[in-house]
Structures are given as C-alpha cells and as structure tokens.
C-alpha cells in the first residue's frame, strides 16, 4: 500500500491542527483538573486518542475478527450471542453441609457453575485437627480433610451435569483425586465430566503464598495432573493459571498480565519436557484474571491476553491446533478494591468491574459481594452479586454484539501497549532462564511489592481516589451491615467426622497406600493413580502431604 505513510502523516498533522486550533485556546482559558492523569496502575493516560495512535498497531493482523487468530476480538465468532458467560460464584465456608446448602441455593437462583473455596488448613495441606489449624477451620472457605468431607460437600449434586471449579493449589492433585472418586461413586463417566482445578503453584510462590513443597517437585505434581487428565478426563481443565492473586498482591494490570501468561508458558514448557505434544494438553489450560477499577485498562488487558497467548503458542511452541491458541479465562472482580467504609458502595464497584470483564470477553465470571471486605458473604450479599451479573447479561444490551469496543482508538492503543509491555517482561523472565528461576531470584515478588507500595503512597497523597476512604469520608458512618459469622463449633463438627472416618477405615490399607505413594514419588512416576488409591482408603490430606514431604522436602521463602 503505497499511500500508508502519506495517510499516517496526514493523521498526525490533523491531530496537531486540532491541538493548535481548538485545544490550545480552551486550555489557556481553563486548565485541566490535573497536570497529568493516571489510572490504577499509575500509567499516564493521554488526553485524546485518535487514528494517529493506532497506526503502528499490528499491521499484519490489524484489529481482526472474532474467532480468528490472534483472537483479539474474542475466541468465539458469535461472542455472547451464542452463549452467555458462565456465572460462577465462588463459595465455601464452615462445614461441607453448610456449603452444600449454599451451592444448592445459588443454583436455584440461576447460577450456572459451581466454584469451591476451601479453608486455610486445606489450602496448606493440613487436617482440621492439626495444631496449626486452630482458629482457621471453616473460616476462609469450607473445611475438607478427607474424602468423607468431599462426599458431604457434593451430596445430591450431579458431577456429570455441573462444572465445578476448585480453588486449591499446593495440594490440588489430592482434590482432583477426591473429585474423581466422588464422581466415580456417583456413576459419572470420566470422559464426560468437566470442571477446573486452580492448581497454579507458580502464583503461590509469587503472590498468594500457600505452598507445601519446593517449586520443582510442586511443578512435577502439576504436570502429573495435566498428563492424567489428558489421558483419562479429557474435558477437565487441570489448571487455571491465575493472575487474580498476583493483582491482589499489588501488581499493576501489566504485571498481572505478563506474570500470568509467562507462568502459562512455563507450564507449557514443562508439559512438553514431560513428553506431551503441545496440542494434546494446552487446549485444556485455562486462565483467571482480576477485574479491577480502571475500566478501559482491564478491557485492554483481556484483549491483549488472547493475542499474546495465541502468538506465543504458535511462534514459540509451534502449536497447530486453534484450540491450543485460544485463551479461555475466568474473571473475578477485585476483592482488594472493596472498602469496609460505606460498604454498599461496593455494589457499584463490582458492577463496573464485572462489566469490564464482559466487554473483555470473559468465559466465566465471579462478582464479589459488597460485604467481602468485612467477612465472607451473607446469602443476601451473594444474591445481589449474582443479580448484578444477570443485569449486565440481560438488561444492558452489552451481550448483543461481539467486542463492542473493538476499534476504539483508546482501547486499541491500550491493548497494543499491553501486548508490547508483556513481551518485554517475557524477555526479562527468559533472561533468568524461565519463570521458576525468576521466582527463585525473587524477581516477580519484588516487582509486585514495589507496585503495591507505590499504589499505597498514591492513595495517601490522594492522587488515587477511593470513595469513602480518602474522599467523601463520613465520620459517623451508619454501617450496620449484617456479616456472616462462622460458628466456632464447625471445628468440633469436623473433628467428629474425622474421628468417625478414622474409626471406620482400614488403617493397614491406608498405611500401605501411603507407602505406595511414597514409592511412586521416589521413582518419579505419575502420582495420580497412587493418590486416587490413597484417597479411596480415606487417607487424609495431611497424611498424603506428609508422606510426600519425606521425599520432596518443604519450601522456605527466601527473604527479599
């Protein structure tokens, strides 16, 4: 195209003309509110985006079309016209029976997928009766110690008919075993069941910090689940590579994007190193992003994520299947953005964040409840959060057309900036030798800490507004929000079931199954079959974790 350059300089000249003729006299008379404008990530935002800002964008692919490589405008040609996103509210508290009731309630209200939150002992691979679990049983999520709890958790819920997402990482492979054993007992066909295991151990070392083993054996366990699911549970997503927690720990949008996708690249590389074909397992890797306050930046982040993933799978790993290149993701609104002050304001924040996720083309969505800065959500708050999604889906009209913001000068320019910035981070991380090595060197951890601190300072200087916290503060705020109290008796309830389970099980068979698991770990074979056998004997999470700790050791966080 011979006249592209000519067109470009005409576009730039036009913008300059506007600045001189129209903008300048106005600004001289009435200056803008601030000298510079910055979003939540503290990145400068220009006054106006125009044709001149998108000229350099991806000339070979352009903005493209949905359903076509590199999927900037979405992975489905029909967007949400074919199928709405899955409304998947994260829930879990107290005992398995309590959470089972919440699940059934949410499904009666129109929720379309389940998502389980486990308590801290479970996340850390500890049993309810561990001394370290005291005060924590059933608090941040549902308490689970053995298969008996899992059976109660999914009592009356057909695992072939519903997709279940499990937020569990360090001991994730045990929870996959729980899930499969319960599904088997229900008579479900492994080839038909679907669901997602978070199982993203890299972001634990980076941000969330719920670990058990050192990084390398932990990676081995993750790849075991990939291999097992590819062979036996082909519709199951064995990982949800998560930026959510990275963002909550203080990362900028770009850091969230870059570290998450580079974590994804690391898992793909380790899978290939195991001997798997890229197109055999990568289509089942899924992602999980945050939806924070800066509306356009978030939308650009999701669009950029799809492009980076598609290109990386193709160029770096030689993927041929389109399914390998299509990035699918879940979104959750930003818990860290919720305020204790004037908590009902959180309903508005969540609605706007959720809208960004939808305009970015998310496959599933969790909307936070307004009371989550205070405690786990009450039934009422959880219902409003679900209704918020239903309002976006069915009242606003945003789901009627595909990628409605595609072609916006600002969105396209921001999307490209995200793509470029992300590949720069990839280069840096490759420079360490990979993400595992970068984490061992503390690189992403330090980047996040720095961003968290800078953000806090910006809030304290009131450069970043938080309504109700640093502006529009109400001294005698009337906030008698009802909050969910977790009954302390949940621990006793769980200890009783654990005792009953231990009384009933065959201790010799448990010990043998744990010995077989250890032996399998020593010979480096896939641990899923031996874990499933141990779970069937009602070995507890901690027993399984301890058995492998003898082989793998424990992780000590380096001081940064």
């Amino acid at each position: 195209m011979p006249d592209t350059k000519e067109q470009q300089s005409r576009d730039r000249a036009e913008k300059q003309r506007w600045e001189e003729e129209t903008l300048k006299p106005v600004i001289e008379k009435r200056p803008e509110r601030k000298d510079s404008f910055e979003g939540v990530s503290l990145e400068p935002v220009e006054r106006l985006y125009s044709q001149a800002d998108i000229e350099d964008i991806d000339r070979d692919a352009g903005i493209g079309f949905p359903g076509e490589f590199p999927y900037k405008r979405g992975i489905h040609p029909t967007g949400y016209r074919g199928k709405l996103w899955t409304m998947r509210q994260f829930a879990g508290f107290s005992s398995p029976e309590e959470t089972n009731r919440r699940f059934k309630y949410l499904m009666e209200q129109g929720q379309t997928g389940l998502s389980v939150a486990y308590d801290l002992p479970a996340l850390m691979g500890l049993d309810a009766d561990s001394p370290l679990s005291e005060g924590e049983v059933g608090k941040c999520g549902v308490a689970v110690t053995s298969l008996a709890d899992f059976e109660a958790l999914f009592d009356g819920i057909d695992l072939e008919g519903v997709t279940v997402s499990q937020t569990i990482n360090a001991p994730a492979w045990i929870f996959l075993a729980f899930y499969l054993v319960v599904a088997e007992k229900q008579g479900a066909d492994f080839r038909k069941i679907s669901g997602t295991l978070q199982n993203d151990i890299l972001k634990e070392y980076i941000a969330q910090k719920e670990w058990v083993y050192p990084i390398r054996p932990a990676m081995k366990l993750v790849i075991d689940t990939f291999e097992y699911c590819t062979q036996h549970v082909p519709r199951y997503n064995p990982i949800s590579v998560s930026g959510y927690h990275i963002r909550e720990a203080g990362a900028t949008a770009l850091q969230e994007l870059a570290f998450t996708l580079r974590d994804g690249v690391e898992y793909v590389q380790y899978g290939i190193d195991r001997g798997m074909d890229v197109d055999s397992f990568v289509p089942r890797l899924s992602f999980f992003f945050n939806a924070h306050n800066d509306f356009f930046e978030e939308i650009a982040k999701y669009r950029a994520a799809r492009v980076i993933w598609a290109k990386t799978m193709k160029d770096r790993f030689g993927a041929e299947s389109e399914r390998t290149m299509k990035l699918r993701f879940h979104t959750q609104t930003a818990g860290v953005s919720l305020t204790v002050q004037q908590p009902l304001n959180n309903i508005a924040r969540v609605a706007i964040q959720a809208l960004a996720g939808v305009l970015g083309g998310t496959q599933s969505l969790h909307t936070d409840s307004y009371d989550e800065a205070l405690a786990l959500p009450t039934d009422e708050a959880a219902l409003i959060a679900l209704r918020t999604q239903q309002i976006i889906a069915e009242e606003t009209g945003v789901a009627n057309t595909v990628d409605p913001l595609g072609g916006s000068y600002y969105i396209e320019s921001l999307t490209q900036k995200m793509i470029d910035g992300c590949f720069d981070y990839f280069d840096k991380i490759d420079g360490f030798g990979g993400m595992v090595e970068a984490i061992e060197a503390g690189f992403p951890q330090r980047e996040i800490q720095e961003s968290a601190y800078q953000y806090q300072k910006a809030v304290e200087r009131k450069e970043q507004t938080i309504v109700g916290v640093n502006r529009y503060v109400m001294e005698n705020e009337i906030s008698k929000t009802n909050i969910l109290k977790i009954d302390e008796s949940v621990r006793d309830h769980q200890l009783e079931r654990l005792q009953r389970t231990k009384d009933r099980r065959d201790d010799g068979a448990v010990a043998n199954s744990l010995e077989r698991l250890k032996a399998a770990a020593k010979t480096n074979e896939n641990l899923m079959p031996a874990t499933i056998e141990a779970v069937k004997e009602y070995a507890t999470i901690e027993e399984i974790c301890v058995a492998l700790r003898d082989v793998y050791g424990v992780y000590e966080e380096p001081a940064f």
Binding site: L120, P121, L132, G135, L374, Y453, A559
Partner: protein, 134 residues
C-alpha cells in the same frame, strides 16, 4: 538510650499468606525512620513473642486477614506479658469485625487498624504511644 530508633516487629500469624499489607506497613515504618523486623509468614504466637523479646521491640504489629484473630491475638498478648513485655504496644491490622475490636482491646491490644487506614496514621500512632510510654 533515649533517642534510639523505635523498633517494630511486623508479624504474620496463622496460615494466611496475604502479606501485601504487612510488607507495605513494614516499608512505610522503615521510611518513617523506625527499625522494622518482619517475621515472614506463618509464625506461631510463641515464635512471635520470642522474636519480640529477642529483638527488644517497642511495638508488635500483627497482620491478620483470615478471621482467626480472636484465637491468635490474645495468645500473643499473653505471651508478651508473660515475658515481661508489659509496655510493648500490640497493634492489629486486617479484617476485624467491629464487634471483635472492643474485646481485642480489652485483652490488651492497643489499637486495631482496619483496611483503608493510611500508613501515616499508623506511624503517628506508634510515635505518640511509644514516646509517651518510653
């Protein structure tokens, strides 16, 4: 030495790994001229009290977001008192429901800082209370 730097132990008890707040506070206190010792994650009350004693700190800041504050905080306070650290300020930061704040204070917690508190307010509080008592 009357004008030695104020020494603060920032501690993360319990199983919770959310250390964003603890690390931001630690850095803000350091920037305000205090000596800060950060315990790292998953410290038992015994480990925290032992570190406080060994480091001879003026204040212990406990960061807790998991809901286990009613179990863990009183235990830390008691262990500090048993070790003779009666004048040590004990501050709690994190997600603590209103109704628990009064009982934590009765048990000897000096102040509870909720989400949204500015680091400057925490610096001011420590400066005023440590100096007043020291």
């Amino acid at each position: 030495m009357s004008n030695r730097k104020i020494r603060v132990l920032v501690a993360k008890p319990g199983l919770d790994g959310h250390d964003r707040g603890a690390k931001v506070i630690a850095r803000a206190l350091r920037d305000a001229g205090m000596e800060v010792i950060y315990t790292g994650l998953r410290q038992t009350p015994e480990m925290i009290a032992a570190a406080a004693l060994q480091e001879d700190v003026d204040a212990v800041g406990i960061s807790i977001l998991s809901g286990a504050h009613n179990t863990l905080c009183p235990r830390i306070v008691n262990l500090l008192r048993e070790a003779g650290m009666d004048d040590t300020l004990v501050l709690v930061g994190g997600i603590v429901p209103d109704e628990d704040i009064a009982s934590l204070k009765e048990m000897g917690v000096s102040e509870v800082f909720l989400p949204g508190t500015s680091t400057e307010d925490i610096v001011t509080f420590i400066n005023e209370h440590v100096r007043a008592e020291g």
